[in-house]
Amino acid sequence: MRVIETRIPNVFILEVDGRKFLVTRSEYPPHYGERKFNGFKEWRLSRSKLGVLVERGIKIKIERDWKILYLGAASGTTVSHLADIADRGVIYAVEYAPRPFIGLLRLARERKNVIPLLRNAELPESYNGIVERVDLIYQDIAQKNQIEIFEENARFFLRDGGYGIIMVKAKSMDSTADPRKIYSEVMERLENNFRIINSVDLEPYHKDHIAIEVGYR
C-alpha cells in the first residue's frame, strides 16, 4: 500500500494492489457503505460531488481549522469527508428534509465537529444566531433558485474574502436548454457578488453537473 499526499490536508491517494483510491484520513467507521483501509476512508466519487472536485480541482482549498456552512447536507455522505478534512474546525450542516436528516444525526453523534441543523436553507434568518461567520459555504441543492439561496446565505454568514463551492445541476435549472448556456448564465449572475475562481465539470460521475468555486468580493 502506497500513500500519496495531496494539496488538501487529511486527503490522500492510496494505491492498493495497483488500484488507486481517493481517501480521507479518518478514525471513524464507514458512514455510507464506503471501504476503510486502516485509518483511511474511501471517498466514493459516484456518491460525492466534492470528491470529484477534490480529485480534479487544481485550485480547491480547504483548511483543517475552517468553519464551514454546508447547505443541503442530506444524510451526511460528503459531510463525513469534510469532517475528516476540517478536523480542527466546525461544520454547520443544514438539511431540511426529515428523512435524510436521520443519517446526518447519526454522523453528528459520532463527530465532535458536526452541528446538525434541520432548517430550510431558503430561510437563513431561522439559523442566524446559531451559525457564525464562516470561511466556506458549500452548497449542493438541486433547486432552480439555488443561486439566490447561496447569495442570501453568503450575505448572512460568509466572511469577507471567504470561499464558496456551488454544485450546479443543469437539468434543475432548465431541462431543455444547453447545459453550457445554463452554466454561463449562472456564472454571470454569480459575478455580481463574487469572484469566479474556477469551474470543474463533474462528468462522468455526475452527469450535467459542474462545481463552481467562488471568492467573496
Partner: protein, 258 residues
C-alpha cells in the same frame, strides 16, 4: 436580539439556551467571541460542545415531530376539505330550494343563516387547502411539484400513506381512483379496455390534452409521480428536473396531436 445562548436587549445580556432563533439582519458582532467575553462559556471547545449537544437534541425532537404524523395528518386534511365541500354543496342546494319558493332573506331568517354559514364553510375550505399545501410541500415536496398539492394529497389518501404510495408501481398510480373501470376491464379479459387515468386526470397537463394522447401523458405523469414519491420517501432531496420533463412531454404531445 435572540441568539442560541441568550438574549441581548439594550446592551444587557441574559443567558438562556434556545435554538429557536430568528434574526432578519446579519449579525454585526462575533457570535462565539461575544459568548466567551460574557463568560457564558469558558472557551471555544465548551462553546461548540454545548451547541452541538443542544442541536442534536433539539433537531432530533423536531425531526420526530415532523416524521410521526405527517402523512396521516395530510389524509385527515384532505378528508376535512372534501367534507367541507360536500357541506357547501348540500346547503347551497337547500338554500336554492328555499329561495325558489319565494323567500328572501329580509323576510326569512333561515335564508340569512344559511348564506352566512355557507360563506364561512367556503372560507374553511380555503383555509384547509392553504394548510394542506404547506404540509404537502414539507412532507412530499417532489410529489407536490409534479402533481400539485391537491392531487398529491388525494393519491396519498387513496394509497393509505406516503410509504404505501412509494411502493406502488406507476401503472397502479396511473389508475388510482378508476378502480371500477379497471376491474371491469380486467373481468372482460382481452376484450376489456383498461382506463387511461384515475385521479391524475384532474392534472391540468393531462386534462387539457386531446383524448388520443391523454393516455400517453397520463402514463408519463404517473411515472414521474412514482419517481417523485420515492425521492420524497427515501431521500427527501428536491429535484426540479422531474417537473420540467413533464412540461416538455406535454408540449411534445400537444404539438403531435395537432
Amino acid at each position: 436580539m435572540k441568539v442560541w445562548y441568550g438574549e441581548i436587549k439594550d446592551d444587557e445580556f441574559r443567558r438562556k439556551f434556545d435554538l429557536d432563533v430568528r434574526n432578519e439582519r446579519p449579525l454585526d458582532f462575533d457570535l462565539v467571541g461575544f459568548a466567551i467575553e460574557n463568560s457564558v462559556f469558558s472557551d471555544r471547545d465548551e462553546y461548540y460542545e454545548t451547541l452541538r449537544e443542544l442541536a442534536i437534541k433539539n433537531e432530533e425532537r423536531r425531526m420526530k415531530e415532523i416524521l410521526r404524523s405527517e402523512d396521516m395528518f395530510i389524509i385527515s386534511l384532505i378528508r376535512a376539505y372534501d367534507d367541507a365541500l360536500k357541506c357547501v354543496n348540500l346547503l347551497s342546494e337547500r338554500l336554492y330550494d328555499i329561495k325558489s319558493l319565494g323567500y328572501e332573506d329580509e323576510e326569512s331568517p333561515p335564508v340569512a343563516w344559511l348564506e352566512d354559514r355557507i360563506e364561512s364553510l367556503k372560507k374553511l375550505r380555503k383555509e384547509l387547502e392553504g394548510e394542506l399545501e404547506e404540509k404537502m410541500l414539507a412532507v412530499a415536496p417532489n410529489l407536490t411539484r409534479v402533481a400539485g398539492h391537491m392531487i398529491g394529497a388525494r393519491l396519498i389518501e387513496r394509497a393509505g400513506g406516503l410509504k404505501r404510495l412509494a411502493m406502488l408501481p406507476s401503472s397502479k398510480i396511473q389508475v388510482i381512483g378508476a378502480e371500477r373501470a379497471l376491474y371491469r376491464a380486467l373481468s372482460r379479459g382481452k376484450r376489456g379496455k383498461p382506463p387511461k387515468h384515475g385521479i391524475i386526470y384532474q392534472h391540468p397537463l393531462v386534462r387539457t390534452l386531446g383524448r388520443r394522447v391523454r393516455g400517453k401523458m397520463a402514463r408519463y405523469l404517473a411515472g414521474k409521480i412514482s419517481l417523485a414519491v420515492r425521492l420524497d420517501y427515501f431521500s427527501g432531496r428536491i429535484d426540479d428536473e422531474l417537473e420540467m420533463g413533464l412540461k416538455k412531454r406535454f408540449h411534445d404531445l400537444k404539438g403531435g396531436s395537432g
